[in-house]
């Protein structure tokens, strides 16, 4: 296989990891909403922690996107 074709296929495979990040972020917000609907007054205090969790989960998905971008634009 030509290197250019292999690069593009590899980039496509790597970008699948961003879907896993989307699932992770959805789980975090879903669990927060489940808890918040049971205990609304306590939910405002924890809302900041939700965004920390979201950023950490999304960070790992961004690493996958980074590999894809590296393969597309940086590797010759």
């Amino acid at each position: 296989m030509e290197p250019a074709a292999a690069r593009l296929i590899g980039a496509g495979l790597a970008a699948i990891g961003t879907g896993a990040a989307a699932i992770g972020v959805g789980i975090i917000f879903g669990q927060f909403l489940l808890g918040a609907l049971r205990n609304p007054t306590a939910s405002d205090g924890q809302f900041g922690r939700v965004f920390i969790g979201v950023a950490l989960a999304e960070g790992l998905g961004i690493f996958a996107l980074l590999i894809a971008i590296l393969l597309l634009f940086v590797v010759k």
Partner: protein, 252 residues
């Protein structure tokens, strides 16, 4: 790449020298990256200096913004539970505002995003981890190494747990820098690609009626990038606080 002539989203990250300086053979060229770092620091200094100038009891708009930034970082430090929390306030405040303003100024068209360079985010992350390690060793002596031994672990498992904890500690600066860098890089590349789509569609004759679609997408993406800019700055600051808390009180 076949699309090289159509769209080049990487060119926006190229470092262009403005003033070439080589004192003692060291390359200290003043580049567009340096220029935007000066702009970011000037903007932060202007916000804080001019914002705290009128010491009105009922603050005006700029003073409100300066006070809200102070209160926000202060509440972040308190949420992270360090015992001498405000000691690290200047450090965390500087980090937070530098990363926030770099991310936000990078969203203006034709600017250069300082934090989209792995060198910049890597330097900031190494600074954070360096301060964590040095302060942890100064404060706890060799008790700092209790960080790698979680409490309540049976002694049989220790030879497996300690190397894993050590490696996960080493991955902290890597994840801290790459998270910020990759978020900024990916966001700006996506924006540039959407812009490239608009231009390509406009030049394709009958398909020019579809051109508003990628334009609307670019607007939505810019709004999302605003959220990501603020969120990544906040996450950088709060992870700094968490790592400092781990250094001061090692052993969960």
């Amino acid at each position: 790449m076949a699309e090289e002539n159509a769209m080049d989203p990487i060119h926006q990250f190229a470092i262009q020298p403005i003033v070439s300086l080589h004192p003692f053979g060291i390359d200290a060229t003043f580049s567009n990256a340096s220029l935007f770092m000066v702009i970011v620091v000037s903007a932060v200094a202007a916000l804080m200096l001019i914002g705290t100038g009128p010491r009105a009891l009922v603050p005006g708009r700029l003073q409100s913004v300066a006070e809200m930034a102070y209160e926000f970082v202060k509440s972040t430090l308190h949420m992270a539970d360090l015992h001498d929390g405000m000691r690290f306030f200047p450090f965390v405040f500087t980090l937070f505002l530098f990363v926030l303003f770099s991310n936000l100024i990078g969203l203006i068209p034709y600017t250069f995003t300082v934090t989209s360079q792995i060198v910049v985010t890597g330097a900031l992350a190494l600074l954070v981890i360096g301060i964590v390690i040095v302060y942890g060793l100064l404060h706890n002596g060799l008790g700092f190494l209790k960080l790698f031994v979680p409490s309540g672990v049976p002694a049989v498992l220790l030879p497996f747990i300690v190397p894993i904890e050590f490696i996960s500690f080493l991955s902290r600066p890597v994840s801290l820098s790459v998270r910020l860098f990759a978020n900024m890089l990916a966001g700006h590349i996506t924006l540039k690609v959407m812009g490239g789509f608009v231009v390509s569609l406009l030049g394709a004759g009958v398909f020019a009626v579809l051109a508003p679609l990628p334009f609307a997408m670019a607007v939505i993406l810019t709004a999302f990038e605003l959220l990501v800019a603020v969120l990544q700055a906040y996450v950088f600051a709060i992870l700094t606080c968490v790592y400092l808390r781990d250094a001061i009180h090692p052993g969960h």
